[in-house]
Symmetry: D2
Subunit: 359 residues, 4 copies
Amino acid sequence: MASTFGERVQVSVFGESHGGGIGVVIDGLPAGVPISEETLYTFMARRKPGGSPFSTPRKESDRPTILSGLYEGHTTGFPLCATIGNTDTRSGDYKALADLPRPSHADYTAYLKWCGQADMRGGGHFSGRLTAPLCVAGGIALQILAQKGIFIGAHLQSVGSAQDIPYPMRPDVDTLLAPGKKAFPVCDDTAADAMQAEIKAAAKERDSVGGTIECMILGLPAGLGDPMFDGMENRIAGAIFGVPAIKGIEFGSGFACAAMRGSQCNDPFCIDENGDIATKTNHSGGIQGGITNGMPLRFRVAVKPTPSIGKPQQTVSLSKHTEETLVIQGRHDPCIAHRAVPVIEAVTALVILDMLAEL
Amino acid sequence: MASTFGERVQVSVFGESHGGGIGVVIDGLPAGVPISEETLYTFMARRKPGGSPFSTPRKESDRPTILSGLYEGHTTGFPLCATIGNTDTRSGDYKALADLPRPSHADYTAYLKWCGQADMRGGGHFSGRLTAPLCVAGGIALQILAQKGIFIGAHLQSVGSAQDIPYPMRPDVDTLLAPGKKAFPVCDDTAADAMQAEIKAAAKERDSVGGTIECMILGLPAGLGDPMFDGMENRIAGAIFGVPAIKGIEFGSGFACAAMRGSQCNDPFCIDENGDIATKTNHSGGIQGGITNGMPLRFRVAVKPTPSIGKPQQTVSLSKHTEETLVIQGRHDPCIAHRAVPVIEAVTALVILDMLAEL
Amino acid sequence: MASTFGERVQVSVFGESHGGGIGVVIDGLPAGVPISEETLYTFMARRKPGGSPFSTPRKESDRPTILSGLYEGHTTGFPLCATIGNTDTRSGDYKALADLPRPSHADYTAYLKWCGQADMRGGGHFSGRLTAPLCVAGGIALQILAQKGIFIGAHLQSVGSAQDIPYPMRPDVDTLLAPGKKAFPVCDDTAADAMQAEIKAAAKERDSVGGTIECMILGLPAGLGDPMFDGMENRIAGAIFGVPAIKGIEFGSGFACAAMRGSQCNDPFCIDENGDIATKTNHSGGIQGGITNGMPLRFRVAVKPTPSIGKPQQTVSLSKHTEETLVIQGRHDPCIAHRAVPVIEAVTALVILDMLAEL
Amino acid sequence: MASTFGERVQVSVFGESHGGGIGVVIDGLPAGVPISEETLYTFMARRKPGGSPFSTPRKESDRPTILSGLYEGHTTGFPLCATIGNTDTRSGDYKALADLPRPSHADYTAYLKWCGQADMRGGGHFSGRLTAPLCVAGGIALQILAQKGIFIGAHLQSVGSAQDIPYPMRPDVDTLLAPGKKAFPVCDDTAADAMQAEIKAAAKERDSVGGTIECMILGLPAGLGDPMFDGMENRIAGAIFGVPAIKGIEFGSGFACAAMRGSQCNDPFCIDENGDIATKTNHSGGIQGGITNGMPLRFRVAVKPTPSIGKPQQTVSLSKHTEETLVIQGRHDPCIAHRAVPVIEAVTALVILDMLAEL
């Protein structure tokens, strides 16, 4: 289904940018697991708009109401539903766009698919705002995973041409989670300056800029995943492309493998300092044949530049079938890659929780 | 399920490298569609081992027996089962490996997952040989799609550092399918020479080399796909990672988008020379919000170097828990990227046929 | 998933009897379809508690809040979420039961499955109250189907030993829908008296009574459904058993077929008065090989007596592992079969809408 | 999918009555489980045609070829494919029927669904012959379950008006499996005489007769199953209707519950002779809220009379749109209910194996 993913832990996202509210249902959570709402809100604050000069000024509390599935701080064993009200919606900004599809938005494809009948105000169900309920669900999943000793972290690896250092091959948990505790989610703080300079430069020109995110998982049991079409890569990629603006994903050394020799790319086995079987390198990203091998699971995603920019763009009039110039009003994020970092963690956590439920 | 994918057209692959046979069941095909077995064999010949000095000398006819689903050259409307016998299996080559997992193969993860109980002779169900039944299923799908005016083509875009030219932004069908008609699937024949030189150099050093593949789809109806988790990217990526050795996928300009400004990356709308709405560039790869926009659908995948190499490698003994040196006997493909080209076409065709069935 | 069903139109129910609220998400609705909220409320009123002396006095408005998926009276093309608040919950009535599972309720099996961790106040997620969101979803589905000329009706066929007449073999739409417009959903009003006498007699003895429901669908396209495991019977039965208290389902003449000869049970083909191919009898219930044949689709379900009764019953103490006597306090429906009639229509409508989406 | 069922253990059936062969793929079996082919053949012999004067004389060895998934008598952990050749197919018997659909067969609905394009010779994919691969898969599942202490048995409970005694409320394993070891699968041998008399009487009149089957499962873990749409009843019913000729299913006391009072129908809890919590009656059939309660799981199905009968029947000509008389040539089972007994066990075993995999 379009807005649903997962096999044993299923997540269903609903809502439109300018409707009554947005939210999520998670079916398949275990019963009796303690969940801290404060920890959840802290996590959600990481994707919140308005948190910095680098983000859209739309202000929303985004604090979810949990209708079911949680009772006295513990999961009930039944579907959890959380809703978030839409409070700051100025439809006027978008209405004029109905006839002039914004380049590289879903306006035109939605128009084709639903013959102009879908409610696309503010991007409708395609709005980046729908990542808020994903973060509710994922934030809960992260708490459950942490109780099992599984930790997921991510950081901005690049913005435009500015690069962060990658995670170490086998980081400890603190190193993994450190970027998520900073105002700007990087490993190396000097990278933050260069990245923010890229964002400011783009903003100044009423333009936007893209980025990449590196995500890593520690503590995963070895032997998780299935061959062929139900492997870790299939499941993670199948869900991650549900995050708006993601254009690519690579596991381990990914595209770089294509230029390597086998003798470079293969990960030799060794006995590590704890006496455990490990690999000396991790070009595989912790996965062989779709199944975890006990090394950190590592992948990278590409986030395209925010398609809403202030610069004039060429589009067409759907009613007149003519080429037109479009200037998008309102203010928009000059970069969404940093706000996408917790979303990537959230979706990854949901996939992992789902796969663990199959053990 | 591990070895199954698809919602309305479901493909189920079975078999082990050294078992009685391998094959595929396709459930959900339409009835009464003409299928040419000759065309199918021609397609399958493209992935066949032994076809060139660049491939493994294991010789198999790989000609499938179609048990059901096809009658007098037409689909019956019921599940199609095709089987392929295993005739040239020399288990001796592999048996010694049972205790010494090959680096960057699934030997070790399968050992962990199934506690040593899985039949991993010759790579078992993880063997690249399982791509033969995928090509049976995909070859049939390609014929059905062609009858609907939908064409899928792919070419080797790189091997090691040698690069082919990319497909044009809007190729005609002949240009799209040309690489698949060549002994070596490239657009620019001079690229073939450089690529083959890379493969020979690797082979000479008992090593292997990786590559990338560009795939494109022409003739797709606009408006195909769904928002969020059931979009074109989700569905294609979720299946493509079922092909062994794929480490990354990117749609349109993919990872390159991350370094772009929005004003470069956005695809402006225009009225094209046929009077149709189109985009002037195709960084989006023909997809917006998970839904096709009528432009060619375009993606690229990374294929890692064949993990079986003749060079000595470090591994561990599972029984003795010691580090050991492994020299893999037998001959193996120094590159599998060119043989993966029709497999990528096949899997893509199956995903598209499945998604069309939902229209 | 436990609380989710459907392939192309997916329904996800959430909430506990005594939690913050209950509700439903429907993913996969078409865009732009007019939905009347008044018609929906009229439909929902049919299952409402407190509507008659034959029902539980728990009073709830049960008027849903539609958060998404509906805009200005039309579906938006995106998931529809409706929530219903829980306003009249007196946990005290149930708390004592935690250690004494009620016979033929889910108390004991939930205790086993979730090790006592599930929130089972008031029956938790197993409560009959969860049929309210099912009626929201189904009421919307019924409106969409009616716009396509497909009508679903049901009536109480029996309560205890009191019987209603069956629907005619090929009723018109008015006859089909007539029971749903009455305070007590029967075809023959004299049957209502006998049924109500059975209910009153049971109530007087602090007991309850079961019943059967006949459901019929008119206007279904012929050729709908799939062979084997995805036929009309599979899909309907698979969903209908999600309605609490259903213990059996039969299609057409069902169990009566088992005592027939083939020459009686087979439905001979004929040309009917409109010149269409039809069958002279409908023991098949409008389905052959899982696929509709154009005759009315007809099935019957068995509803067990309400398990909550005022009479003393034998149970066990989970903590003391001793046999105990339980007297359930509070007032409960002496019969739920009549309130289940619209729920059966609702779930059936959702299954049909889902299957139509696959055409 | 039409010919596929299961979530974690997925069964995919293929083949047409008169095609090259039929078979099954099972994906999701555990690795390393011993499977006896002899035990499997003994099980399959129970559904074999030609075994008695009460069955069709079509003779087929029906001995499957196992292509994959089994190695040296143990499951490999990968998909198991078994094929069965079609050797005794006389298409002539059926060809004349193409224009004259047989009453209460799938001929007409298949004609509608596939516009006459499906291969319906001999009933095509709807043929009862497809239950042979179901028995291969189910026979393997039964062996795996037996190794876990779970046993499934079934017997003919009625043929026409002749009745067998029901299983005792809590039979031992020998009593459960006894009917399956007899030439005619009943509990009470005197019932066999009466049933066979009914079948002979029908056969003599070139007619057929239906029956009912009672199935029971011993040794199931308590707490298995899920609420609402994924309960034991949903899963079993959803699969069982994939067996041809099944028209109804009821769990526990089923339709009889509808005429009961709650005080009769509720199953009081008690401490049994082993000191375990049990219920004094089992009207619930071992299931509450979709979840097993530790009592035997019990259900009954209705099997309609074989639709192929020698008596003249009324049908229509699809080409001429006229009413015609049809006399079906060839010999057919006057009753299929006894041959359906092992098929019900097989499908039930597959559902249970699937649900256990989710624990």
